[in-house]
């Protein structure tokens, strides 16, 4: 955990899994919870380094960030109780990363073959046109059809509700997690005091600092006093951003 974080700012990532996978691969790790705990900092630092962080994308990134925080918390505090859902999220993330990694490997095949030895469909066969409408060719049908075409044009819509809900729940989760870790540390302090592992406490405190980074750096959260409710500033909600 003492390794310096990797500088990967210049790369463009397709999404949180892309970022996460590249962090793991840069450290030459296998995908498992130990690896995930180790790259959690890298991940957060990367997010922090982004100047413009559009909210639509941030939702995807933050959902994964929350799971990483869980994994890291658990690695630091074995007595931290995780809910069944949280356990599932962790297993799920590992599994998704493995599939994603495999897809990345396979995409090399696609890349190598695409457009190389093309099987060409023949040129359109020439035929002399013969005027032959069918019974749907009426003014009325034309209007109905064109209106439905216009209606199905993709709308510039704001972020799907499910994602917004996830962002909110993520904030709640971080708040809860912070509280849980705080109390867990109090518990752990006694244990640490006995065995005298001061170093570990330092790690946890720095981890909490990192949590603050998450809160302030990514979503622009406001927190007046340490245990006050956290307010999220999401002025950009109506401005989606697509890469």
């Amino acid at each position: 955990m003492s390794d310096t974080t990797f500088q990967i700012k210049t790369e463009v990532f397709e999404g949180p899994l892309d970022l996460l996978l590249s962090l793991i691969e840069k450290r030459k790790l296998f995908i498992n919870d130990i690896a995930l705990a180790r790259v959690a900092d890298d991940y957060i630092v990367y997010l922090k380094s982004l100047e413009k962080f559009p909210i639509a994308d941030s939702a995807d990134f933050l959902v994964i960030a929350s799971t990483l925080l869980l994994i890291k918390s658990r690695s630091l505090l074995p007595n931290l109780n995780l809910t069944e859902d949280e356990q599932k999220d962790i297993g799920d993330l590992e599994r998704r990363l493995k599939i994603y990694q495999r897809i990345k490997e396979l995409s090399v095949h696609i890349k190598n073959h695409f457009g190389k030895d093309i099987i060409f469909a023949p040129e359109p066969r020439k035929m002399i046109p013969v005027f032959s409408p069918d019974q749907t060719m009426t003014k009325k049908n034309f209007l109905t059809a064109i209106l439905s075409v216009i209606k199905s044009l993709p709308k510039v819509e704001n972020i799907p509700k499910a994602i917004v809900r996830k962002v909110v729940s993520l904030e709640e989760m971080i708040t809860n997690l912070t509280r849980r870790i705080q109390s867990s540390i109090k518990l752990s302090f006694r244990e640490f005091a006995k065995v005298g592992k001061e170093e570990r406490v330092n790690v946890i405190i720095s981890f909490l600092a990192m949590l603050e980074l998450v809160k302030q750096g990514i979503v622009n959260v406001k927190q007046d006093n340490q245990f006050d409710d956290i307010e999220i500033e999401t002025q950009q909600t109506n401005v989606p951003h697509y890469n």
Binding site: M127, P129, T136, M137, F142, I146, I150, L153
Partner: protein, 197 residues
């Protein structure tokens, strides 16, 4: 990758074109001498003797300068009754939802390019466009500004069949046009985003 025998290369080009090709042109396309092409054609002729397609030779007409020996691949005369039937069927088939959708876009937004149609529909429209052309419902015209590209527009026959003397007489023409422009403006903004993906 190993190269195909010359007769197979010739077959590929003739199949792909589906139209008569001069020996000279084939030679140029394949980077071979005309004699090699002629020899290749003889081999190909023998090879496909027992198949569903056949070679048709069109010798240059005597006394016509610039005339070239031409050759094409066509369906075997033994299936001409099937092809005839299919040609007729092609013209009576229901155009379906995709057909009506595409033709209404061309009617209200034409002249319009294929890529614009694809974009509006969100899918490729090449087969349906070809079908609409064969049915004499839409026609392809050259883009005055760019001679490599084409526009589609409704045929005169279609308009009279619908009972409109000009395209603006389509129901709610102006309203549809405005609505289209408003919605499509957003679209093009997004398109630049998509293509940078």
């Amino acid at each position: 990758m190993e190269e195909l025998l010359i007769e197979n290369q010739i077959e590929a080009v003739l199949f792909w074109k589906g139209e008569p090709q001069s020996i000279k042109k084939l030679a140029a396309s394949l980077g071979k001498k005309e004699d090699e092409i002629k020899a290749g054609l003889e081999i190909l002729k023998a090879k496909i003797a027992d198949r569903g397609v056949e070679l048709v030779f069109k010798p240059a007409r005597q006394g016509h300068s610039g005339g070239d020996d031409e050759v094409m691949l066509g369906t075997s005369s033994k299936v001409s009754h099937i092809i005839e039937r299919l040609t007729k069927e092609e013209l009576v088939r229901d155009l379906g939802k995709a057909g009506l959708e595409t033709i209404s876009i061309i009617a209200y937004k034409g002249p319009i390019s294929r890529s614009e149609i694809d974009y509006i529909r969100g899918v490729q429209s090449n087969f349906i466009l070809r079908n609409l052309q064969i049915r004499g419902l839409v026609e392809k015209i050259t883009n005055e500004n760019d001679h490599r590209s084409f526009f589609y527009r409704p045929t005169f026959e279609l308009l009279s069949f619908l009972g409109v003397s000009k395209i603006e007489d389509l129901p709610e023409y102006e309203k549809v046009k405005i609505e289209f422009e408003q919605n499509l403006k957003n679209e093009t903004d997004q398109l630049t985003d998509i293509t940078s993906e």
